[in-house]
Symmetry: C2
Subunit: 347 residues, 2 copies
DNA sequence: GCTGAGACTGGAAGCGCTTCCAGAATGTCG
DNA sequence: CGACATTCTGGAAGCGCTTCCAGTCTCAGC
């Protein structure tokens, strides 16, 4: 590892002039500290003269209120956390999270809340998070539970700060959440396959011990029933490409005559696509495939994947908005965001 | 948009019992607040008896020190910020950032610092960031300057908190930075192409108004000179796939006989690959291509891309470590992280 | 001119913690 | 056993802000 000596030429921090305090501002303006505080907080009962004097002093001194002191007095930190929980920190690299963050940031940008990011993968990470909550380090939490029964959901329940869920933990109905319409999306996908005239439609599900795995499978079943079809093979994957491939292989073994596959995620669909192609089947001629998510790879598979689109960015944005509302003392209702079918070439 | 009423059944926050304060702990332990504080901070001059009493009280009451109060007293927030600056917030979705974040998080996990994420794209975002710094909202900043002359570098210089750069801003040598060895990597790539016996090696550069664009081009030139070759066409791209394609087209027009291309990013290489294939040339038989970055797409191009690997995660980790050191009063030296060639099929 | 309702103001008491300091307690040694 | 160095201790003064409250001031209305 090369080491180069920083020169600090032009970029050394300039004189670390202590920031002026409210007292100093008040003194300069010739008023009391309380008066100055009122001006800053745009509180009522401030005379024109006082306001002007304080505002001039503020401008002249370049005053900015100290965040921490304000936080202590108001018991509001002005910070909300987004926690992502998964055993494999590497999984955070999924573009999914970037989208969530972009959405959350967009919503926060309009407020003066800042975003703290917690990758609570390890036990240590979870510990840090719960500590953060109990020590009143943040005003609220957005949580993305990825496991079926994430231990975090329990830890967080008694944290004393509002928690908004992105997606739902398994078999639990949080007070506040925003989720994609997984059931509806899966139904859409299946209906579409049925509408294409396919009758032997198999499903590759996600883990059935997660809410999204279960919900997407439910949507598939419901649509099959409505279409008057019977499920033609089901294999459980794990939302990964490898898992999708394995599921597809077992499906081909048990139902070699299938003519369509609904995969509960694009990654699994991508794996399935590979296996189908390798087995000599052509997609979509022999077998039509529809995925779910439309984030990242769907456009880049061969052939490009017809899939169910969900706006992850919108999900992030709504989570943040909901949290802001809760913090503000409102009682927002939870949200289910719509999904839509995106036609490409695999079906 | 469907709306469902949250039931809050099992997940309502339990009694929001006020957290005990240090005073209460001290009282319960029968000692003064100062004594209790000393125990908590593992300060010297605490008798065994006092320590035991306080620790028991802490355990019994489930005491955890209030972060904000502590921050006010110590003037340390325990929070560091990672700021990403780019006009297009969408660009944050690049897996690059996820890697940085994973690296940073890994380093922070061992401390009790938390990570604040700032997407300072808009003017508003920049304003929020500078405000955060001046209001003493964070103890330090990690900055990824993406433009050539990002306005942020200036704003941040007088912020009064330590700043560590990831990559270097253009034509400025920050006091603390960690960067990939862009020159060395580009040299590696070019040497490799020359070693393959290619002699008519063109370059697709990034914006020459960025440090990385310039550095990678410099590496290419240096290697060419050392190999006794003369640059065989240079076109400036913008690090995007489309830009790479355009550059490749202009290169083919001016130097139709080129037999190798060094592209200063994988995305540009991907674009170039497409153009080359469409022009009827085969890669690597007719034209060998080497990219740079090895994050995201390099494995998925056709053919898979030989490229220069840089560990973005390591970069994030080192940035965080460096910032921690600076905050701790040390004077770390800046770092340049090594790169290495990854052979795939395009060269 | 007097009254009472507002509008305004500054003093003071927090928010919950750290840290300095003077003094009390303990121990050591000749 | 006294002198002195150590170790401990609690009181008090912050950190920089908000907010309650009891006053002061202004002014319409009678």
């Amino acid at each position: 590892m090369l080491r180069t000596k920083g020169t600090g030429s032009q970029m050394t921090a300039s004189t670390p002039r202590r920031q002026p305090t409210l007292d100093e501002v008040a003194e300069r303006a010739g008023v009391s500290r309380s008066a100055a505080s009122r001006v800053i907080n745009k509180a009522p009962h401030v005379s024109r003269a006082t306001r002007d004097a304080v505002e001039r002093a503020i401008k002249e001194m370049g005053y900015l209120p100290n965040r921490t002191a304000r936080a202590l007095a108001t018991r509001q930190t002005g910070i909300v956390a987004l926690a992502v929980s998964h055993d494999d920190p590497q999984l955070f690299a999924d573009p999914f999270f970037a989208q969530v963050i972009v959405g959350v940031s967009a919503a926060l940008e309009e407020t003066d809340l800042h975003l703290l990011l917690c990758l609570a993968s390890s036990g240590r990470g979870r510990f840090r998070l719960t500590n953060l909550l109990r020590t009143r380090g943040v005003d609220g939490l957005m949580l993305m539970p990825l496991h079926g029964d994430d231990p975090l959901t329990r830890l967080v329940a008694q944290a004393g700060v509002p928690v908004v869920y992105g997606g739902r933990p398994w078999h639990v109905q949080p007070q506040w959440y925003v989720d994609s319409d997984n059931v509806g999306g899966a139904r859409l996908a299946t209906e579409y396959l049925a509408g294409l005239g396919r009758t032997r439609i198999a499903a590759i599900t996600g883990q059935m011990s997660t809410d999204v795995g279960e919900a997407r499978y439910r949507g598939y079943r419901e649509a099959m029933i409505i279409a008057g079809l019977t499920p033609h093979g089901t294999a459980e994957g794990d939302f990964t490409e490898a898992g999708g491939a394995a599921a597809m292989r077992s499906l081909l073994a048990s139902h070699p005559d299938l003519d369509a596959v609904f995969a509960a995620s694009d990654k699994m669909a991508a794996g399935a696509l590979r296996v189908l192609t390798n087995s000599g089947r052509s997609v979509p001629a022999d077998v039509a495939v529809v995925g779910f998510d439309d984030v990242g790879i769907a456009e880049h598979t061969a052939p490009p994947l017809t899939t169910i689109h969900q706006s992850i960015q919108a999900l992030g944005k709504e989570m943040a908005r909901m949290l802001i509302a809760v913090i503000g003392g409102e009682e927002p209702t939870s949200l289910i965001l719509p999904t839509r079918l995106v036609r490409r070439e695999s079906a």
